[in-house]
């Protein structure tokens, strides 16, 4: 089997490239600390979300000093909270989102950021972000979910500490 | 080397991504080029291809005697 020297060279370069890509991603996970959505959100009964201690009354919950949990229910064609009322979180805090769906598969994407997840009925997506800038972000559903999918949007407001109104369970 | 009509056509096609990606290239170095510069750049590329085509078909006319 004749393999040209140049082709062997390219084989080596290609392997180097592949190992480099895997290495970069591993660095992102370990060095830069970017965590993946995984299975630690657990499961819920999508038919009984209203009886769930948190999803029954979705919203922003304070869980510690500068730590907040945000429970969001995605359903055709709104985020609750997010669409009718904006999700409000204080700046320089650690915010953990818990997102689930009440009907079909949706997406939850904070536009222009890395906060992006699928919302699957029966599953809870959990991810944590740090807010470092006062500004408003848009939220879109980025998975087709039915005929008014394009109307499914919302807002996250990162507000200064003194403007934040920490009412339990509400935004 | 003679530039055939087909070769010129493919070069024109190839000039489009080069022009469009010009802004990406400058973007990496933090320079934001306006859209007009892309249009001008593409026009220059097209002119260069046209010149190369005309020039090569002239020289080809001289060479045609050999064939």
């Amino acid at each position: 089997m004749e393999i040209h020297a140049y082709e062997k060279l390219w084989l080596g370069a290609a392997l180097l490239l592949i190992v480099g890509f895997i290495g970069t991603v591993a660095f992102g996970a370990v060095g830069a600390g970017v965590d993946m959505i995984d299975d630690d959100g657990g499961t819920v009964d999508p038919g009984a979300l209203d009886q769930h201690p948190k999803f029954g009354d979705p919203g922003v919950y304070q869980s510690g000093p500068n730590e907040y949990d945000v429970y969001v229910v995605a359903q055709q064609f709104q985020f609750q909270p997010g669409t009718a009322e904006a999700i409000e979180v204080p700046v320089d805090s650690t915010v953990t989102f818990h997102v689930t769906s009440a009907d079909v598969i949706h997406g939850f994407e904070v536009v222009g950021t890395n906060a992006n997840t699928m919302a699957i009925p029966g599953q809870v997506s959990t991810f944590t972000v740090e807010t470092d800038e006062v500004r408003d972000h848009g939220i879109v559903c980025n998975e087709y979910c039915g005929s008014a999918h394009h109307a499914m949007e919302g807002t996250v407001k990162v507000v200064p500490d003194d403007e934040f109104n920490a009412t339990d369970g509400g935004a | 080397m003679r530039l055939t009509p087909a070769g010129a056509l493919v070069l024109v096609a190839f000039s489009v991504p080069v022009a469009i990606e010009l802004r990406t290239l400058f973007g990496i170095f933090g320079v934001a080029l306006p859209l007009a510069s892309v249009v001008v750049f593409e026009a220059v590329l097209l002119a260069a291809i046209a010149v190369a085509y005309v020039a090569s078909s002239d020289s080809d006319a001289d060479a045609a005697a050999k064939h």
Partner: protein
């Protein structure tokens, strides 16, 4: 059947520029580039240096773009998922 066509097909596989032209339609025939062959190059005579050049350029573009996308576009954005 297969033995009948065997000889013919072997001949067909070899580029044969001296082959007498059968009846061909007017104009360029798709796939007739081998008619323009001026010289035969065997595996050992052929050094794909042009390919090496192109593929090396591609390699460099890939590396530069990957580094840009990962470290500037991705890690440089707000609300990175940290847990």
């Amino acid at each position: 059947m297969s033995t009948d066509t065997e000889g013919e097909s072997l001949a067909r596989r070899e580029p044969d520029t001296a082959r007498p032209e059968p009846e061909r339609p007017y104009g360029y025939v798709v796939g007739s580039a081998p008619d323009g062959v001026e010289r035969e190059l065997s595996h050992d005579e052929f050094d794909p240096v042009g390919t090496l050049t192109l593929i090396f350029a591609y390699f460099v573009i890939l590396v530069v773009m990957w580094v840009f996308m990962y470290f500037v576009e991705f890690l440089g954005r707000g609300l990175t998922v940290v847990g």
